[in-house]
């Protein structure tokens, strides 16, 4: 069937494109219901304080205010990003008893218009007793630090505020270090970066006839439904999340947010629709950003650069609730062990509560930080050993058919191949070290660097798998029901391509109905890097199932065996005698007539690792993870002005294995977007926080890449040909793993340009200048010593 691919593997135009360039695409903020009330949230002005008293009576009395809620009005059901026996849900939808970060939700209200709602917020009186607060995770861990929440019962005793730990080891690291020719230890930090989705958080809820209709900007409507239903204490069938287009998420819209709950609760109280929109300032001040991770890495290598042992300690500044902090310290181990062989490893990770805003996943979920640290250290080691950055990586990189420490398999994944192609395409070795050995005239220095990464796709987290339904229409076209949500990555297009290919229709013949929890089957959502793989394969099955039924009906009608027939271009015909044929229209008509009205409906379902029970242990890392690992190597060329310290990305080369690219143009879009986000992380972006307060809560002071910072982005997809025959649906991750290698590459390139090694991101002008001054000072000191 798949010997010649018609639509899969082609850059078919986006299905949602026409709606998006004409303004017809409906986002959550565009949904209008008559009589809608405006909801607003009252937030904590303190990073840590006991709530002595809340008085909402004056707000309630204001004309135009329809309802006010505090935690006392809720059922007190907790939720969490992770909900497991070890990590039970830990957060209520509104603060109870105390607030633990600035911006925490204390009360919510609904009023007839925005001005009234705003006035009413000012009328809510809250008396706080301010408590000592702590913002730095290492301070927070110390015994005697202000306690935000009790440490996890399984955390090492004596440490405060430890929300969770991950610990794993294999081999014998100490012996490994003893057997190494060269050992070094470094510490790396990174900043708080925000997701920067253009569409703000917004939710519209309407309670009607015992049913809650919800429109919300999210990354997975089924996950949202499960969490909302739980905290509202409603059966899932009473909650319907409707489809809307989503204006960017990047990880920041998967958690359950208080405003989502509040809009629902307020609508249930008032019987009117309630909309809550977060202002950009609120998002910066109070919503969830990334996870600043500190990594201490000790690595021992042989003279030729082969890694012998590695010891890693990761400390995550997890913010004021557990959030996804305990996942990040688990993943940080994962992003360490996938790309390189590490014979002896000892890893420990701590997720630590601080009085900062809660953290969310963010594109890459820790990988950018881990790869930045490890790849920087790889270059330092290479330099100390006198070998080049390509050689040291090739020595350690994984190839196809390798077993990973958790029992997973790399299958065809081949990091070595990615490294080789990236080095060759970019001319890395010819350019490397050029401006350092022969500084050019003027103040601009060029540098080049490499970084690698790997990412897993489609891992098991609720709801673990996806279903798809393909319904044939009378005219031979098809309607696809899928829970997959299009957040801009192009899932609707990809699914249409797959169904078209397998069913023998064109992508234009396929209409997608998506992400509505009442009318479409359950879906994993757009947040664990597996939609094309998991939902895509469910779509393939559903289309195949519909095709089989078409063939069956045609076979009956034509009086031949179904396996003698083929289906293509909306015609079923006999393999040997093409005269014997029926159009899909005729087949469907026949099915409806003969089967007393049965139309043709195909069903499909897919889950990664069907035989594995669940996600591996976050605490011990035991358990298999996925069958789907994507590898990549990226090279960055940067320019640094040594007078101002300003650096910019000039060109990025991305060499990756995303399995078989269903739509190469969409793959390219993901790569370009990640390069852009990575350069923002490298050179521009930082949420500045002082004592829990955001100092730059807007896009004037928090700079994201503009068109001026656009960098040239070249990419090559390796190993593709191996998948083309027989495995065109062996797709892998491509939407979030590619921030990491290029971020690391930029750090290495800054060093190559200037000799300044930065162990913290962002590589700001100040840091680079400081580094340059330091180098100058060292040089002079040496000079003096020599003369003395």
């Amino acid at each position: 069937m798949q010997s010649e691919l018609k639509y899969v593997g082609k850059s078919v135009r986006r299905k949602d494109g026409p709606d998006k360039v004409t303004g017809r695409a409906v986002y959550t903020q565009d949904v209008r219901l008559p009589n809608t009330l405006v909801g607003r949230i009252l937030r904590s002005p303190h990073p840590h304080a006991r709530i002595v008293r809340i008085d909402t009576s004056r707000a309630r009395a204001l004309p135009g205010v329809k309802a006010v809620i505090t935690v006392e009005d809720t059922k007190g059901i907790k939720h969490g990003f992770v909900e497991t026996p070890r990590y039970p849900p830990d957060q209520e939808v509104l603060a109870r008893g105390k607030v633990v970060h600035v911006g925490e939700e204390v009360a919510a209200l609904a009023a007839v218009d925005a001005l009234t709602a705003q006035r009413a917020l000012d009328l809510i009186e809250v008396e706080y007793e301010v408590l000592p607060a702590v913002f730095d995770p290492e301070e927070a861990m110390r015994p005697g630090a202000p306690e935000i929440h009790p440490s996890h019962p399984k955390a090492p005793s004596g440490l405060a505020n430890v929300g969770g730990t991950t610990a794993t080891e294999w081999g014998d690291v100490e012996r490994g270090f003893a057997e190494s020719d060269y050992v070094r230890e470094d510490r790396f930090d990174c900043q708080l970066r925000t997701h920067g989705y253009l569409e703000p958080h917004v939710t519209l809820a309407q309670w009607e006839n015992g049913k809650l209709n919800v429109w919300t900007s999210s990354m997975g409507t089924f996950v949202k439904r499960a969490k909302l239903a739980k905290v509202l204490d409603l059966p899932q069938s009473s909650v319907r999340i409707h489809k809307t287009y989503v204006g960017g998420t990047f990880g920041g819209k998967i958690d359950l947010y208080s405003h989502e709950y509040c809009a629902c609760h307020l609508s249930m109280l008032t019987g009117r629709p309630v909309q809550i929109t977060a202002s950009r300032e609120e998002i910066f001040n109070a919503y969830r950003h990334s996870q600043p991770l500190t990594l201490e890495i000790k690595t021992g290598v042989k003279k030729d650069g082969t890694i012998v042992a590695q010891r890693i300690r990761a400390i995550n500044n997890a913010g004021a609730f557990r959030g996804s902090g305990v996942v990040v310290i688990f993943l940080a181990w994962g992003f360490t062990m996938i790309p390189y062989r590490i014979p002896n490893l000892k890893y420990e990770g701590f997720s630590v509560y601080t009085n900062n805003t809660v953290r969310a996943p963010q594109r890459g979920h820790g990988a950018p930080k881990v790869r930045f640290a490890i790849e920087s250290q790889m270059d330092m080691i290479a330099e100390a050993l006198g070998i080049d950055p390509v050689e040291i990586r090739l020595r350690n990189a994984r190839g196809p058919g390798e077993k990973l420490p958790n029992g997973d398999d790399t299958h065809r994944g081949n990091l070595s191949e990615c490294i080789r192609v990236a080095a060759e395409r970019s001319g890395l070795l010819a350019k490397f070290g050029r401006d350092r050995s022969q500084p050019p005239k003027g103040t601009i220095r060029r540098g080049i660097g490499i970084g690698v990464s790997a990412y897993m796709g489609g891992t098991l987290i609720y709801p673990n798998g996806s279903g798809v339904i393909v319904k044939m229409n009378d005219d031979g076209t098809a309607i696809v029901l899928t829970g997959a949500i299009d957040i801009g990555q192009g899932s609707e297009t990809v699914i249409a391509q797959i169904v078209a290919e397998e069913l023998g229709v064109t992508p234009d013949d396929v209409k997608i109905i998506s992400s509505d929890t009442d009318t479409t089957p359950q879906d994993i959502g757009a947040w664990i890097s597996g939609m094309t793989y998991v939902t895509g394969n469910a779509a393939r099955q559903a289309a195949g199932n519909a095709r089989e039924k078409l063939l069956q009906v045609a076979a009956e009608k034509l009086g031949v065996r179904a396996d003698e027939l083929v289906a293509a271009d909306k015609v079923v015909s006999h393999r040997l005698n093409p005269e014997l044929r029926m159009t899909y229209r005729e087949v469907v008509a026949s099915s409806i007539a003969k089967r007393r009205g049965d139309t043709i409906i195909g069903e499909g379902f897919w889950r990664t690792m069907r035989d594995e029970p669940a996600h591996p242990s976050l605490a011990t890392t035991r358990g298999r993870w996925t069958e789907n690992y994507a590898f990549s190597a990226q090279v960055a060329e940067v320019e640094v002005d040594i007078e101002t310290g300003e650096a910019r990305l000039v060109k990025a080369y991305t060499v990756h294995d995303c399995g078989f690219p269903i739509n190469p143009a969409l793959v390219k879009g993901q790569i370009d977007g990640q390069v852009s986000m990575a350069l923002g992380h490298a050179f521009m972006e930082e949420v500045l926080v002082k004592d829990g307060y955001t100092l730059n809560p807007n896009w004037l002071e928090y700079r994201m890449p503009t068109i001026h910072e656009m960098a040239e982005s070249e990419d090559a997809d390796v190993i593709t040909e191996q998948y083309r025959v027989g495995q065109p649906y062996r797709t892998k991750e491509v939407g979030e793993g590619l921030i990491s290698g290029v971020l690391a590459a930029m750090g290495n390139a800054v060093y190559d340009a200037t000799g300044v090694r930065l162990r913290s991101t962002p590589f700001s002008a100040e840091r680079i200048l400081e580094g340059l001054r330091d180098l100058e000072f060292q040089k002079r000191k040496k000079h003096k010593e020599v003369r003395a």
Partner: protein, 173 residues
């Protein structure tokens, strides 16, 4: 945002004014309070929701519309100040069902992902091409510097503008 109660009270009490706007070629009369912004007027009162509201503080360009042919951020423009003016929004770019060359190019060159920046981006780029049919890179950068896009890295957007102005780059396969 209003910071004090007297301010809020005054805003609530201020009488509405009738404003005439020619929106995508059609004259509309709307009654607006003095503090209503153009983006609110277009989205909530005229009912055209293609124009997006993102930062509502003039920093992202998502709300860009053309006011008498010039791109403005409609979140920082008061509706009462637009009386008698012509407003063009993303809904006015097509000729019936037919997409403009720029809209076509946006789809062809990967200039659209989540699409939230797209209406504003299209309006800024339309204004650019109307005053400079063959802009160079520098000019494109200047014209689009106020429009943030978090998804595409701008590569597809630049390609699309170049293509729509007949300065085609090699089409990605």
């Amino acid at each position: 945002m209003l910071r004090s109660d007297p301010q809020a009270r005054a805003a609530l009490k201020a009488p509405a004014q009738v404003v005439s706007l020619r929106v995508n070629g059609e004259w509309r009369e709307i009654a607006v309070k003095p503090r209503v912004t153009l983006v609110e007027a277009i989205r909530d009162l005229v009912g055209l929701t293609g124009t997006k509201a993102s930062c509502e503080s003039g920093t992202c360009g998502a709300c860009t519309v053309l006011l008498d042919g010039r791109p403005v951020v409609s979140c920082l423009t008061l509706a009462v100040a637009c009386d008698g003016m012509e407003v063009r929004t993303v809904e006015g770019l097509t000729d019936g069902e037919k997409l403009s060359a720029l809209q076509e190019a946006f789809l062809e060159y990967g200039a659209v992902q989540c699409g939230f920046c797209t209406p504003g981006m299209l309006m800024s780029a339309t204004a650019l091409l109307e005053r400079d049919p063959k802009p160079d890179r520098e000019t494109i950068n200047k014209a689009l510097e106020g429009n943030l896009c978090r998804c595409t890295g701008y590569n597809g957007i630049v390609d699309a503008v170049l293509a729509a102005s007949g300065q085609t780059r090699p089409r990605k396969e």
